[in-house]
Amino acid sequence: MITVDKVSKTFHAPHEVKALQDVSCRVAKGEVVVIIGPSGSGKSTLLRCLNRLEHADTGHIYIDGVDILDRKTNINKVRAEVGMVFQSFNLFPHKTVLENVTLAQLVVRKRSPREARDKAMALLEKVGIPDKAAVYPDRLSGGQQQRVAIARALAMDPKVMLFDEPTSALDPEMIGEVLDVMKNLAREGMTMVVVTHEMGFAREVADRVIFMDQGRIVEEGTPEHFFTNPTHNRTKLFLSQIL
């Protein structure tokens, strides 16, 4: 489903940072991959490269067989197939919850208002907040906002979902509700790439865990391998610091 081939990315401003160095990995259809690593390790950059919010300098990235770094690729088409959930939710504050979920359906997918509405209501039902359809996002708690953001991404019927630290901005008591939605999604067979610090989630849901440090993939493997006997010292150190 996703193939990343020797991707590098350097940020020049405000000072030069090699965010990604020769990163290669694959994500199969229906697989849940969790990327972990210390801050500044390039995990968010890698995720953002997958739908070209960041443009990789060198290498190739294929989503469902399409080379997204190719000049001729219509990136908007690719992005419509790749859902993304952000750390800070980024809901549209001038639109109601329902409008947040229907907007891209109407504008990008050209669905009829009725169809978009039905789809949106079904998804709000799924993430557990159909009763908030008519309110504006600033009336919702962080957990509710993030669930709306997930519904908004799912409304496009994406083939892949990317999660960029979806629970990092939440109060502790709200993390559970968002993780539950994500677990359900994984169970339904959605292909997911998740950047997170929730080790419990990684252990329980992930098919594979990727550990990154200083712009490189240091180690990857199944959760059991990863949490019980990691091979690299850097991984051991990181796990000892956070567990």
């Binding site: 088409k77 992005r79 419509a80 859902g83 549209f92 990008v108 600033d138």
Partner: protein, 333 residues
């Protein structure tokens, strides 16, 4: 919310409200005292005629002949005049009829006199100022929006064009711009139009164009700042859903930005209404030019300039209220 940093007891609050009214009263009283001190005869009663006045109108015969009959028809009177070769009919309000049936009239003879209300020159000026300002504001919004979007584009041709436009227009006097629009561009355009056998454009159009482009430069900067004040995440969220840049702008960024820039836009538009007073130099008779004309004929500068200022205040205050209404209406929940 507004006074979170400053708590005040009710009594203190009432006291300071009082202080405000005392200040207002004091200023008004001082102004009044000053007007008494000036060696000037105030004749406010002569001002209303420049808004609305009664005009005396005469109906005169155009032919030579005999008045055939004078027939009352409600409030009007129908006068028929029969000449040697032709006949004519005149309808005159019945108040003051100067002829009877059988009279002989010559061309130019007065058949009847009546009075009618006419709109005065100040009222006409006020209307023209309002019209010019509103059209310029609307065009200015369009120009400003385009220039503002070009300003943040990554395309150097668009970006640098926008920067050049904004810097030149903001950095030069409006007076000079109006001159250039009318006497340079206007001459060229009108000559071209004349060569192709088309109508000349009146000075008003060039005035509107100069004001619109002037206003547009400021609006462009306001729009740019408004767009840039919207969090980057909004654009990323919209784009990640598959929206194109224009779609994201239209549905996500601009609606939020426009709401945010309403207050500075209001200030800009108020400024524009007052700037329209410069159009008098290209013979557009807006409020200021109208006032100047009345002052030369009536020799009552004080009343008329006060009145002129007051009328501008009415326009700007109205606009200000309208924008505040928009702000309230577009406020989220």
């Amino acid at each position: 919310m507004a006074r979170a940093s400053q708590q005040m007891t009710r009594g203190a609050y009432a006291f300071w409200v009082m202080v405000f009214f005392v200040i207002v009263f004091g200023v008004v009283a001082a102004l009044y005292y000053a007007t008494r001190k000036v060696d000037y005869v105030w004749r406010w009663y002569r001002v209303p005629q420049y808004f609305l006045y009664k005009e005396k109108a005469e109906v005169r015969s155009e032919i030579q002949g005999r008045v055939q009959d004078v027939v009352r028809n409600g409030d009007n009177v129908l006068i028929r005049v029969t000449g040697d070769e032709q006949t004519a009919q005149y309808t005159v309000p019945a108040k003051d009829i100067r002829v009877d049936a059988g009279d002989t009239v010559y061309p130019g003879d007065v058949l009847g006199v009546f009075q009618r209300w006419k709109v005065g020159i100040l009222m006409q000026g006020l209307w023209l100022t309002l019209k010019v300002s509103l059209i310029s504001i609307m065009l200015g919004i369009v120009i400003g929006l385009i220039a503002g979007l070009a300003r943040i584009s990554s395309n150097p041709a668009l970006k640098w064009s926008a920067v050049t436009y904004v810097e030149i227009i903001r950095g030069s006097p409006l007076l000079v711009q109006i001159f250039i629009w009318y006497f340079v561009l206007g001459t060229v355009i009108n000559t071209l139009l004349a060569k192709n056998g088309m109508m000349q454009l009146p000075p008003l159009w060039y005035g509107v164009a100069s004001l619109a482009f002037f206003c547009g430069a400021y609006v462009a900067e306001i729009v740019r700042a408004g767009i840039q004040s919207i969090h980057r995440g909004q654009m990323e969220a919209a784009r990640s859903l598959g929206m194109s840049y224009p779609q994201a702008m239209r549905h996500v960024i601009l609606p939020q930005a426009l709401r945010r820039i309403l207050p500075p836009l209001a200030g800009q538009f108020i400024s524009l209404i007052k700037d329209s007073s410069l159009l008098g130099i290209i013979a557009v008779r807006e409020l200021t030019k109208a006032t100047r004309e009345v002052v030369t004929t009536s020799l009552q500068p004080f009343e008329l300039w006060f009145m002129c200022a007051l009328l501008y205040l009415v326009l700007t205050f109205g606009l200000s209220m309208f924008v505040q209404y928009l702000e309230r209406r577009t406020a989220v929940s």
